[in-house]
Amino acid sequence: MPILGGTGLSEAKSDNAFVEFERVQKSYDGENLVVKDLNLSMPKGEFLTMLGPSGSGKTTCLMMLAGFETATHGSIRLDGVSINNIPPHKRGIGMVFQNYALFPHMTVAENLSFPLEVRKIGKSDREEKVMRALGMVQMQDFAGRRPAQLSGGQQQRIALARALVFEPELVLMDEPLGALDKQLRETLQFEITNLAHELGITVVYVTHDQTEALTMSDRVAVFDDGRIQQLAPPDELYEAPQNSFVAQFIGENNTLEGVVQEIKGNTCIVKLDSGDVIDAIPVNVSKVGERTKVSIRPERVEFDKSRLSPDAHTLKAEVLEFIYMGDIFRTRLRVAGTDEFIIKTRNAPDQVRLTPGSQIEIGWLAEDCRALDA
């Protein structure tokens, strides 16, 4: 079913999942589970990123979806049909590999033509589709070249075009931009997202680069220890991490450890190990006396008392280091027994530049400070 230029995100029915993992487990050695009880459902047209440190199980999940690994337990469904026992070449899933995997003995055009040939598509049709796919990635002029004659970025474009040329509804990408330099990576991130949304294809994208995950995805699944720790849109993931792993893995984060002293509705009071008391919202804590890690984003910390509510708790801090980073200032503080407390301030004309050695008081809005699991 051709979907080039077809359906978009809006047409996806949320109750009718396109890709589904249900209670999927994977073990290679029969002793350890690499993927533990994975449940995931994506609607058609979604751009979902699997993000996690290496060894977290994200690539294994992708390979199970592609059919190169079999699930030890559970079922994987594509468009409502279980694909556990369908071999990879019959799944019709496009895939972009980390090292491009362009066939070195074929030209660019032959590479793109390959999936069409194995589908027994006629020659003229093939040529037309190849040129259209090359056009999508602005590589028409390179049809006769060999992969070895292309730069890394060009090769990645060709790999992308090859994964799209047979018009799959689902495209998997396994760290496709990992080998490129930063600038090229950013350009291609933009191009891939645009293309995905234009074509309305469903994309599962694996990366360990959180910036990539945040900028490209509709939703991000953060993997750790074989489980999805949180599955949420990028803003929610950043601003409302569900546990301390996600809080630390996504973006920069300040962590303070303590014990819940009091819970009143939407806020709680945490007594830090240093004896200080702060306000937070209880996310992963339920009762008084529980240990917790509280997480505060560096840019949400205030040291201007006038911008805090009068009854907010504040902490004493000593400025250790001031780093000028152009658009922002990054200041390292000693707070409640830790030397690694970071605050970030925007480089605005009226912004105060803290001097090392000075004593200040810091605070934050209770809703910016999340009490998570210990």
């Binding site: 190169f68 899933i93 895939m95 590999f97 003995h105």
Partner: protein, 537 residues
């Protein structure tokens, strides 16, 4: 013109760069110099010499020079034996050769071209010292002075030599005999044979021509000289002796040397013998090469060997065909193994690798002998086949002493040479290519055939060249398990080197083999491209 760029010390930059590079090159050359020298001395020079033997043929001209010269004027198309002077020349040459013990070597050499010549020379060599006795007796009867060695020395030796001999104190070697220039012009044949006589006496017998009576053939030569030129002029004290002999010679009783030789052996009457001697008299010959491809030189030019003596073309063809079969078997058997080696987890792959390399650590002879045990009629494999009922007990398979045996044993022995290059090439093909192909919709077979296989072709190429070139020159295994139907050209070369001692033919066969390998290599380069051969990386 652009201004010359100068280095910091003022010399032109190019010159100082060249100097710096030259030092590097010299150092590199010095590093490989020992190996280069070693290879030069132990490999290139001996091989070059060996190959030179394939065209070299100086033994005929060196051993019987007078005969070769006399044969020049022989009408060899007449299908008759040469005239008497040729036999006179042969008598003289053979006398010298017998004394130098070279006539049997020449006989063996010519025997390669026509069997029987060897015994002909040996037989004639035993009796050749009687030829010319008739003349000796008549000269001595004419004047006993002809019996005196001093007469001959006085007649033929250069005064310088006589003086040198008188000055010689008797220790060490006598000064080498010098023929007088006058004698060479007046008595050419006599001078020539006497010079050889003097040389032989001095070098072989450690004696002096001044004390030895000449051979009978010298008298024959003197008779020929005097008959040819009755009015010759000799000066000095011996002029009377010579002129009286010249006057007496026409009335001498003569000896029919042709008949004498025919008396030695009937074969001297056979024009083919003379044909052979004549054909192989030049210093260089293409005869060995012609023999190598079942051709021979005849009166009418180049012709095929008789049907029953044609073996070399068959052998070359068989060597090619069997090497090809072995190479293909190695590809078929080695490819899956190399694939497994490249794709198994490291631990299992290492284990398998050891199994592949194990044959390398076992002696070739042991492996081949093992095959002899396994393959023979009452051997393990036949027993097994009989036991499972695949063949009847009275109808056991002939697996050894034929081409089958050679192919089985050599495929086994050369298999590592196919597996290793294949493996090292396959190792560099990432598994993601196959995955990519499958994700693009290719079945396992299509993914393998269209994506994996083309990338492994350089390994197949390298392995095939290796196995083919190795097997084309293989010797031990075909020798042991090949019987007569399974031997290679190399076995024939070895036979000529060590048994028939026909080194010229062995060299020619070897040269042809080398040329075939080089031609195949060239063809391979043209078709596949030698850049596409990878032994790894």
């Amino acid at each position: 013109m652009a201004e010359q760029v100068l280095a910091a010390d003022g010399t032109p930059l190019k010159a100082s760069l060249n100097r710096a590079l030259r030092r590097q090159k010299m150092r590199a050359l010095l590093l490989i110099a020992p190996l280069l020298l070693f290879i030069m001395l132990t490999f290139i020079i001996p091989i070059g010499q060996m190959l030179f033997r394939s065209v070299e043929n100086q033994i005929v001209g060196d051993t019987i020079p007078r005969t070769v010269e006399a044969l020049d004027s022989w009408d060899h198309d007449a299908d008759a034996v040469p005239p008497a002077p040729v036999f006179d020349a042969l008598a003289q040459d053979l006398m010298v050769a017998v004394e130098l013990k070279e006539h049997t070597r020449l006989g063996s050499r010519l025997n390669y071209e026509m069997s029987g010549i060897s015994s002909l020379f040996r037989k004639s060599g035993r009796k050749v010292d009687d030829i010319g006795e008739v003349y000796t007796d008549q000269f001595v009867a004419l004047d006993p002075a002809w019996e005196e060695p001093a007469t001959w020395v006085g007649l033929l030796a250069d005064p310088k030599w006589i003086a040198a001999r008188e000055a010689w104190d008797g220790t060490g070697d006598e000064p080498a005999f010098i023929m007088s220039r006058a004698a060479k012009t007046v008595l050419p044949q006599t001078a020539s044979i006497y010079a050889d006589f003097a040389r032989v006496i001095q070098t072989e017998d450690n004696d002096s021509p001044a004390e030895e009576e000449p051979w009978h053939v010298v008298y024959l030569a003197l008779y020929n000289d005097l008959t040819a030129n009755p009015s010759l002029e000799v000066t000095g004290p011996l002029s009377g002796l010579v002129s009286s002999a010249a006057t007496a010679v026409p009335s001498f009783e003569t000896e029919d040397v042709v008949a004498t030789f025919e008396g030695f052996d009937d074969d001297w009457k056979n024009p083919e013998v003379w044909e052979t001697i004549y054909t192989y008299s030049p210093a260089y010959t293409n005869g060995y090469f012609l023999n190598s491809v079942d051709l021979q030189k005849t009166n009418e030019g180049v012709a095929w060997q008789p049907e029953n003596e044609q073996i070399y073309l068959t052998l070359f063809w068989r060597t090619m065909l069997m090497s090809m079969t072995i190479t293909i078997s190695c590809i078929l058997l080695g490819y899956p193994v190399a694939w497994m080696l490249a794709n198994l987890p490291a631990r299992k792959a290492n284990m398998l690798m050891i199994l592949v390399l194990l044959p390398f650590w076992t002696s070739l002879l042991v492996r081949t002998s093992a095959w002899k045990v396994l393959l023979q009629n009452q051997g393990v494999i036949n027993d097994l086949l009989v036991w499972i009922g695949f063949v009847a007990d009275d109808n056991r398979l002939a697996l050894i002493n034929n081409a089958t045996g050679t192919i089985i044993a050599m495929t086994h022995i050369l298999l590592p040479f196919m597996i290793l290059p294949l493996y090292s090439v396959m190792q560099t093909i990432p598994v993601t290519y196959l995955r990519a192909a499958k994700s693009l919709g290719a079945t396992n077979w299509t993914a393998f055939w269209r994506v994996y296989f083309p990338q492994s072709v350089p390994g197949i190429g390298a392995g095939s060249i290796l196995v083919f070139i190795l097997s084309i020159g293989y010797y031990i295994t075909p020798e042991i398990v090949g019987g007569t139907k399974g031997v290679f050209i190399s076995n024939r070369i070895a036979y000529h080197i060590s048994s028939s001692l026909n080194w010229g033919l062995a060299a020619a066969l070897g040269a042809i083999l080398l040329a075939i390998v080089l031609a195949l290599y060239w063809a391979y380069d043209r078709i596949v491209g030698i850049d596409n051969v990878k032994l790894g990386g």
